[in-house]
């Protein structure tokens, strides 16, 4: 049934529908509404799960690692500093091949202390072995959370469902909440491949010598390489049942486009509107939304950008000394691809600053009027001294 729902609660509803068994979390703005609602679901009996209040994000991840090692479906959520504090255990979750799902609300890292949107927190976890899926609106958040469980449990790698602070986490909009029966059909109970069992004891996370460690790492890489195909199958199955699908990328009007804006997160919605405006002015503009960041969808990106002369990548993040992170990844996807477009890299909207339709049009026209991209990322909308 469609109702007006907060983005955070789209996650909470998905967790309830997924019949998650153990939730462990520590509150942090702007994530708190997610676990607050789940805590209420647990106390009212709408969700039959164990809710653990812990004293830190490090412990939150440690306890879902423990629970997932017992073979149950688990959930946690965090944001910004909280994710940074979890960092060590993010590696542990993927290394132990545990199908944990976490909602991550993009929040700027401190100092300066800032609670607003910025993707650097999640993107700086790119090498931890987590699948990363970025969302555009409340419906996508709910659907992606359900899909994340199927994907995690099939591949045995953890999944991060990522949503923008406030522009998504605190925004109310109509969201279709599917029926429990339909969700049960899509997402049957977990059939865990790893279950610690006192009747049949074994150890997880033991010392591994050089003779075996590299193979374990190779297995993780192979598992990641299986994700695009598996994701596509599940996205298709989801579409059959619910009539909605998202793809690992969403390419809009790229076929005849000269310049394509590459975006992620809630900027995508604003960009859809800007694209319509640009097209109505006769501009041959296109848009490519990147939903899946890990594994990085190299092939779909190459396909979508074939024949495009320039792309403008909009990054709401920065890897200091290198620039926009999506731009780096896209450059590497297009490397050795002879007919690839020129890649323009822009940084905008850090720490919750608005990325408006006008910001995106400025980026488009700037790209259009330039013959060659600059070596570095161009920062848009900086205050002039």
């Amino acid at each position: 049934m469609k109702q007006v729902l907060e983005g955070s609660h789209a996650v909470s509803e998905a967790v309830r529908l997924a019949r998650v068994q153990v939730i462990s979390a520590y509150p942090i703005t702007p994530q708190t509404h997610i676990v607050e609602a789940i805590s209420e679901q647990c106390s009212s009996g709408r969700l039959a799960a164990r809710f653990m209040c812990v004293e830190s994000e490090h412990s939150a991840m440690a306890s879902v690692i423990g629970a997932a090692s017992g073979g149950v479906r688990t959930f946690t959520a965090t944001s910004g500093q909280g994710l940074a504090y979890m960092h060590e255990l993010l590696h542990w979750a993927s290394g132990a091949r545990l199908p944990i799902v976490m909602a991550e609300v993009n929040r700027a890292l401190a100092p300066g202390w800032n609670i607003w949107v910025d993707q650097t927190d999640s993107l700086s976890q790119r090498d931890t072995g987590w699948i990363q899926l970025y969302c555009e609106d409340g419906q996508e958040v709910l659907d992606t959370t359900l899909l994340a469980y199927r994907l995690a449990e099939e591949i045995n790698l953890p999944v991060m469902v990522i949503l923008d602070a406030f522009f998504l986490s605190h925004t109310y909009e109509p969201v279709d909440i599917p029926d429990q029966e339909q969700v049960d059909e899509f997402l049957p109970p977990i059939e865990a491949k790893i279950i610690l069992d006192t009747a049949d004891p074994f150890a997880l996370g033991q010392m591994v010598p050089p003779g075996a460690y590299m193979e374990m790492r190779h297995d993780i890489q192979l598992a990641m390489e299986r994700v695009p195909t598996t994701y596509q199958q599940m996205d298709g199955l989801f579409a059959e049942l619910f009539g909605r699908s998202y793809g690992d990328v969403d390419s809009v009007l790229c076929d005849d486009a000269d310049i394509v804006l590459v975006v992620s997160g809630t900027v995508t919605g604003t960009c859809r509107q800007a694209l319509a405006d640009l097209r109505s002015l006769g501009e041959k503009a296109g848009m490519l939304k990147i939903k899946m960041f890990r594994p990085f969808p190299n092939e779909p990106i190459r396909r979508a950008l074939k024949g495009v002369s320039k792309i403008a990548v909009v990054d709401r993040n920065c890897s200091f000394g290198a620039g926009g992170i999506f731009a780096q990844e896209i450059r590497s996807a297009l490397c050795n691809f002879e007919t690839g477009p020129l890649v323009y890299s822009y940084i905008a909207g850090l720490g919750g600053r608005d990325i408006t339709g006008d910001t995106l049009k400025e980026i488009y026209y700037r790209t259009k009027s330039s013959e060659m991209p600059e070596m570095h990322s161009v920062w848009i909308g900086l205050n002039q001294e």
């Binding site: 406030f166 522009f167 925004t171 909009e173 109509p174 919605g269 859809r272 509107q273 608005d354």
Partner: protein, 194 residues
């Protein structure tokens, strides 16, 4: 698409007013999007909330800076907050005020309506004497000036969504709906409308 900005103080239910109105417009068949000003909230401090209403899916995800209409939950805010900033000429400004004070200079480019939401809230025992909860009265009044959604939808939304005193809150919305005062349309607005 119409964009509405809500001005209030922390603790007055400003964000809830925007959400309730979003839910009511959704019931009336509109696409909606509502969000608070993304600040750190403190009781008594000025806060803002926003609402977009449209006949198609709302795509923009940015702060509202050029609203069509505004609601001001505490008329004393106009001394410290530029409530009309960015407002589109000819739009509605709804003020919570007990008096028929002359605000015409500030609102010369807009259509002005007022309602004594504080009195209505206090008579219905909503909130406390020092912190009356004026939000449900304000949305009742807003539904009157916009002529949508119907007062029935507003009252039903309040009853379905507010767990504390749902009947009294719905009653406050109804009383505000009935007692909105419309100020004379300023010359500047009349000329624009031709």
């Amino acid at each position: 698409m119409q964009e509405i900005r809500f001005h209030g103080r922390g603790g007055q239910g400003t964000v809830v007013a925007a959400i309730l109105l979003a839910k009511a417009f959704f019931q009336a068949g509109f696409y909606v999007q509502s969000f608070p000003s993304f600040g750190v909230e403190r009781r008594g401090a000025p806060v803002e909330a926003y609402l977009r209403i449209g006949s198609e899916k709302i795509l923009a995800r940015t702060t509202i800076t050029t609203p069509h209409h505004i609601l001001v939950q505490d008329c004393r805010l106009i001394q410290s907050v530029a409530v009309t900033q960015g407002m589109q000429p000819g739009g509605w400004a709804l003020l919570n005020t007990p008096t028929e004070a002359d605000f015409s200079q500030l609102f010369s480019e807009f259509r002005l309506a007022s309602v004594d939401a504080t009195r209505i809230a206090m008579e219905n025992n909503l909130g406390t004497r020092t912190h009356p909860m004026v939000n449900t009265a304000m949305i009742g009044a807003f539904a009157r000036i916009m002529e949508i959604p119907s007062i029935d939808i507003i009252m039903n939304t309040i009853k379905a969504d507010i767990s504390l005193e749902p009947e009294k809150n719905a009653q406050a919305a109804l009383e505000a709906f009935k007692t909105v005062k419309f100020q004379d349309i300023p010359q500047a607005v009349k000329q624009k409308r031709g």
